[in-house]
């Protein structure tokens, strides 16, 4: 079964070129040329991955993502203008799974798409695997692999799929320190790149949503130069 991708990019020529390239990479690509068309196609079609440009006429990528996320969990790879940190942070908050600065090497795009697909596959296999790990409970936090829902004190938290994966990895090894490399591979499904702060950004979103312990101690500690640790609170 071929992977279906929806490419939402307003630059006609770039869209055509990317489409041709991704087809060579054995993806099935549908094209949308503005935000509204993109959102309609995304809501009505069955896609495995959305590749989404931010700067677009009619409806920009961030608004599209916001509306799309209210109903769907389909992974989204966001294309941001290079060096625009703000777009990236906002994008992650809206629930983008990964981002790529534009312009970029097209091989990088296909690599990221594959990484996302690998991770989704991994999630599925974890879910179908051992029943004992389906629900992890630690103090007041409960993480359910079946429903992919995290609740704190009985209240469901609104986590993106990357944030869920990060928390799952941390909770599975609570008290241990997980390196950024490991977390990147587990949560984003790819290798850690240079100056890659994706994990840090997802982590700061996760921290904010999760909040500290009742004692006001942070739940997730940054271990400088190494990685992150979910603290066991005795």
């Amino acid at each position: 079964m071929t992977t279906r991708i929806l490419l939402i990019e307003d630059d006609q020529e770039l869209n055509e070129l990317l489409c041709e390239f991704l087809a060579l990479e054995n993806f099935h690509v549908d094209q949308a040329f503005d935000g509204e068309q993109g959102l309609n196609m995304a809501l009505n079609g069955q896609y495995d991955v959305l590749v989404l440009d931010i700067m677009m006429p009619k409806m920009n990528g961030l608004d599209l993502l916001k509306q799309f996320r209210t109903a769907h969990k389909t992974p989204v790879l966001m294309l941001t203008a290079r060096s625009d940190e703000v777009d990236r942070i906002v994008g992650f908050e809206m629930g983008a799974d990964d981002y790529l600065p534009k312009p970029c090497n097209p091989r990088e795009i296909s690599a990221r798409i594959r990484a996302i697909l690998r991770r989704v596959e991994m999630d599925r296999s974890v879910m179908e695997a051992s029943g004992s790990r389906q629900i992890i409970t630690r103090e007041d936090v409960e993480l359910n692999h079946n429903t992919r829902i995290v609740s704190k004190q009985g209240e469901a938290l609104d986590l993106t799929s990357t944030e869920f994966n990060l928390l799952a990895s941390l909770l599975a090894k609570a008290g241990q320190v997980l390196s950024k490399e490991e977390l990147t591979e587990k949560a984003l499904g790819r290798k850690l790149a240079l100056y890659d702060r994706s994990v840090d950004m997802h982590m700061s979103n996760l921290r904010r949503k999760l909040g500290p312990f009742l004692s006001n101690e942070p739940r997730i500690k940054t271990i400088r130069g190494v990685g992150y640790q979910y603290v066991i609170n005795d």
Binding site: L14, L17, E20, S83, E85, K102, L194, T222, R224
Partner: protein
Amino acid sequence: MSSTIRWPSIFRSLYWKIFFFFWLTLIAAIFSVATLSEIIVQERDQDQYQKVVKLGIKAADIFETKGSAELTEWLYYIHLEFDVTGFMLDAQRRPISLAHLPKNWLEFTLPLTQHRLSERNLKGFQPYSISSSSNRIYTFVALRENSGPYPTWLKHLPILQIVTALLIVALLTAFVTWHITGPLRKLKQATDAFARGHLNTRLHNVAFRKNDEIGEVGLAFNHMAERISLLVSNQQRLFRDISHELRTPLARQQIALELLARKLPDTEHQSLNRIEREIERMNALIDQVLTLLRLEQSDQSPTTETYDLSELLLNLTQDAQFETQSKHQVHLEQPEKNQLTGQPELVSRAVENILRNAIRYTPDDGRVFLRVTADAKSVVIQIEDEGEGVPEDSLKHLFEPFYRVEACRNQQSGGYGVGMAIAEQAIRAQSGSIQASNRATSGLRVIITLPKTPTQH
């Protein structure tokens, strides 16, 4: 000073203001000193008058009680003792004493006119109307001189005059100096701020002084500032638009190249890789230019956060070392924890750019040092390499975009490009400072000073 007063146009010019001011000061000083002298002389006359009248009453009393001979005696006495020379006339204006009768005494037998009584400043014999204890009227005619003794407090009259003159000159001069230098100081502050890069600096409240020379300078400054910031922002916009426009074809080119690579045999891939590298390079350069432009323009107050500089620098050092795959070690010395408030991305970008340069210009057996010291208010980050350093006259240009050091530096290394300029802008955006100097041994030293909490400008 007030805007409600409409001065005649001639007085609005600074030239005439200063001109008239000096005249005013001079006239005020002369007038006040003259007035002071006048008051003092009158005071003395008053004293003299009182004294003479008192002696006249006494003389009248002596005549009534002891007779003419005693009176003559008394008049001689007061001449010696009080330096008052006079003679007495009775109510019918006949002389009643023999002492000091002048040749023209008959004049004083005429009725006293109001005119004569009021003329206090007259010299020579003057009549004083006296009424004795028994209310009989006499005329005491006393010799009047203008050089009587001064009251004791008047001994310092010259000093008093000088002090008064100085005080008036000092006050008026202080006023006019303030009037001129106040706006000049404001102009200097504005110019300094403008030079530091606050291109939206303007002089306010120049309107009400628009008719004098200082007001004109202020307006000229505002016009200049307006023009320069317009030119700068136009240039920046042009730069930004070009950069953005270059990106689109580059992005398409990159994909087209990849498609081409799939169609060509492997033997051609070396050239394709070369093209790809050049595209990457152009992309990187465009990024840097855009970053620099954004930093230069960012006038809006940034969102700050508290972060640990030590953690940031540790990650940065590891990344930089990993990227360059360098044999040379980066020696990092810093406090265990170092909390700062500001924009960590900017600090990270600045240090990263400088660190990369330092690594690039250090030979393989050389070392790179990154030292951090902190006190209560600020943090000093010092980055040193063991490269060849930079010629002294190039140091001050190091932070200019695309500046290339002429001598010694390896041409292939591509110069400093925009990296150092970005570093400077990033540090300046957080009210910090950045300086470059050569080490005593060989190598470049860059010192970044950052306030722990940046001041909002």
